[in-house]
Symmetry: D2
Subunit: 333 residues, 4 copies
């Protein structure tokens, strides 16, 4: 798919994915090497969860992947979208190990056990719009502890080997009139957590990813990511503390559907004997001509529209429990 | 757009609209006559609401429009999607007049004033999925009265010139395990209303319709309509009482986006000198070849996916108030 | 507490409890026998859940207990109100055994395994008022199956050894204008379930019961019970099928607080040397004088007010999962 | 009611009201003067809303009233709890005038028109517990504007004569693990509003106040006030900017019911010939003896329990619209 290359330079009809694993797949010759990007795929023992780790190692990799340097871990399983308590228990356990490892990487020598962490969890997204409500739901499920220190005295948490966990659901800019980054920066300065765990609903490229993938990263949330399209990033640079982010794709941008249709149409035209020349012809267009072609097909309104399945409410209920359980298991040792 | 013709015969990739006004627009030579269908457009005095009445007069019209005989009235205004209390007040007043006229048509000589009606309002759709929650929200806003007769004695409502209004939010089949038609048939037999007012979120063909159009019909709700795709119809035949339905498009089917892209691509190919031949070529394909082409482009999952804007929560809040106000004004004289 | 006797005859300031176990406790000489009522208390092996079975055996017992003949089973544990997943898993298992036993008793020879049951679950109460939202929450958690037969063909459920489960959240009379009994009677006639499982938030006498007790009965829901005070009963007589009800006390009537205060004040007056005579005096008042006294203290508005703890939202989340899990385990063998 | 005096010194069974007008009423000889407190009652022209202004002028008044120095304005009308759109429109207009006047008082010469204000609205309370959800509902209704400056460029708001309005729903400490004061202090430092408007559900002494009174103050929110019992105040001192608070009583503390019952019992005992001596006797007890008496009657759990009516959901819907409309009218000139 050459189109991607075009988009990089002409971002006005960017078909975006929040998943590094999808960005990686978009490169031609799927198995090939990309300079500055490492890829590892595996299954944990006895697990049907497919793990993929994409590491963006340097600036060259970051440019190619259109994502900042860092680690992007995905857990994938078709059953994730379904109601199966035992399976979700299993995924939560697996998730917790990866959360803990990433936290250790981010906090370095600062902490020895999770119980010494001071963690702020933030549920990003709009709780009033179902596919954007994953973050608020997860934080709603969390068992916060930070206030117990104030209620029962200093040492209360340490004495019980409990971490200090706080949580916030800031709302989206159309509700608050404020950038999420502003709200969080203020809260972080006042309450001084060591690390932010940000939970967010993501946009994928492919509809088969919806509700079947969990992505963990140590790179923060970047402008233009998430269903709600944050303008300002939530990163160590902007917030002053490291950010571990956990996301699940719940929507596909409408523009992605359009682009897929065009790609498919070209392939179809190329396959059928009668239209073979045309498909080839379109494929042979130079980037500027392709750009012009796609531009005319993409109505400007499409940029903000998203595609989502009708049972998204059940997916959100299931996955928000899996993720909150994963966080609990990771930090309540 | 010839494709529509194809779809009529090969319904497996039906690109559907719940709006008669859109179905009407899909015919070639937009202004032309369709046998068995009448069309009237106007503005009420001093109003910026565009009114359109499509009447399907006979079986021929029904076949052409793929909708049953009856009256389809739309109120259209771009401001509907916005927060403007005075405007919503105005639309509610206009809506109420049309609701009352349709009710009089459906109930005939049975009732002389709205206060003699026994009305059951049903909020169709899934309250947990934002774009499907219009019906539940409207019914939640309604001021029911039927129980007052039981609480304060027979004659209470008549004495106050009040109609008997009851309301139900039955939920969707994935939540109840029951067809909505089964639930309503049971309730209607027990509580004996004269008329059902069904409020539902609709699927449109065009994204510019989302939140800007209200459709009133006297034909009931038909299989495959609504965001949630009811399998069994809610009609005078299936329920035993006349059905007035009120709907607002809140989603566009993902398949519609695909089809629009293909149409646009063909047009673009036809326009550009270099590809002119191809567009023409595709347009000239016979229906079976076109069918094959589109079939390959439409992934089967697309059938159930829908496209919706990110601020759909605000649209639902606004329009559910406008509609509940319209119903109140229509029946509380 | 003699007052209860008064209330039986002068029901206008009835201080009511929906729990048979509390009604039983209100009799003087707690351990004593009551004609027509049997009492059994035990712990299941290795369980910290206290079980109590009150059986009302005949009309005499029914009059004394002010509740209809039948079995009233309670599971009690202080931890129920708390967030402890393992414990809730344990209680759900225990609950499921009792649900199954009561169902077998109600359905008799009709069914051999739960998979042959056709069950309708109804979530009573107002989903918009937190302490009354238990029933709607439980039904929202249930995995209904009845519609799968329609979607995948007759025999689908039997082939998979699955029961036919449907669910409804009818809303309260102030929202629907209809009696819950009317709505259910209609749905039952149309969909023909074998048994109704009714889940409801209950009113207790004692605040320490709030969120710590689950009551199961085979007698249906009776007028005046539940937080929302149903006027018409939901019983085998009114609905035509047996009713298993599951309830958790989430409120105490404000009148109960008033009565407790008076009782306590009298006791205090009796204990203190200086006021001993007075307490005695009040206690010695004949029922009519006591009645007059209490009547003056009870403001009429108190009848509808209820007392509830501020963390009732967490209690509802916890217990609705425990109960939906209990139902799942009982019927999905 | 002497008891109040006791409570001041022995705060462990404080029966609290958030309404200055109720505190004022609790003084013996209702019309009498209290040093350091001024009282004014009136009706605006053609309005059925009863206005009361209590001004606490100095430290002596503050001690007597157990509330800080400042202005406490109440709007009272029985219809407030009911659904009557025209009336709510009227109250919103009246409310807006008082909000504007208080804002002008708090901001002094700083601003000339509301359009120059930078306002942060905070919805206090727990959105998951119906009687505590007033604040979150009001802020959910508000039309924020602050972000438009960022989206459409500096000068956008000024050019349209719009104030900068932002809003936040911070959640309660059991959900966030943080003091609301911490969260707000952080957000205020980052976003620099001129004034905070805090909306909160209040606790009243008398059940007839529930949903029928709106209180406006210029003194901030103080520890122990609100349904959720904030521990740390939200005041100009703690936050750095002036605080205008708007509240509606939605609960009565259970302890208030107990105390009312005792007072009423004593009165009853005093009235009846046969028990006249006792009532007198109890009234004549010295404060310490009374203290002992009441202490024994108040179960410690009562402190956190609250009393609320079953239709509190409707009250919240009505009043949250009235208040958000009042704020809109006050600042969008």
């Amino acid at each position: 798919m050459k189109d991607y290359v075009i988009e990089l330079e002409k971002p006005d009809f960017e078909v975006r994915t929040d998943l590094a694993v999808e960005e990686r797949e978009s490169f031609p010759g799927d198995g090939g090497e990309i300079a500055g990007v490492s890829l590892r795929e595996w299954h944990e023992e006895d697990s049907c969860v497919k793990m993929t780790e994409v590491k963006i190692l340097d600036e060259q990799g970051a440019r190619a992947m259109r994502k900042p340097k860092g680690t992007y871990l995905t857990l994938e399983a078709d059953q994730l979208a379904k109601k199966d308590e035992d399976f979700h228990e299993e995924v939560a356990a697996e998730l917790s190990r990866h959360i803990r490892r990433l936290m250790e990487g981010l906090l370095g020598a600062k902490a020895k056990t999770p119980a010494e962490y001071k963690i702020l969890a933030v549920g990003l997204g709009n709780s009033q719009v179902t596919p954007d409500s994953l973050g608020p739901e997860v934080v709603g499920n969390l068992q916060v502890t930070r206030h117990l220190e104030g209620q029962y005295g200093a040492g209360f948490l340490k004495g019980r080997n409990l971490p200090s966990l706080s949580g916030i659901v800031p709302g989206v800019m159309a509700q608050t009139g404020m950038e999420t980054a502003e709200i969080l920066r203020g809260i972080i300065k006042e309450t001084k957590p060591d690390i932010l765990i940000a939970i967010d609903a993501l946009a994928a490229r492919s509809i088969r990813r919806l509700g079947t993938t969990i992505q963990l990263t140590d790179t923060g949330i970047h402008p233009g990511s998430g269903v709600g399209n944050h303008r300002h990033g939530l990163t160590r640079e902007s917030l002053g503390i490291p950010v571990l982010s956990i996301g699940v794709p719940t929507v596909v941008g409408a523009a992605a559907i359009v682009q897929d249709t065009i790609s498919a149409l070209i392939q179809v035209l190329s396959k059928h004997a009668s239209t073979q020349g045309m498909g080839q012809y379109v494929e042979d267009l130079d980037p500027d001509e392709q750009y012009l072609l796609i531009r005319e097909l993409l109505e400007p309104e499409f940029g903000s529209l998203f595609v989502t399945p009708p049972n998204i409410d059940e997916t959100i209920v299931q996955l928000s429990f899996t993720i909150s359980e994963g966080i609990h298991k990771a930090i309540f040792a």
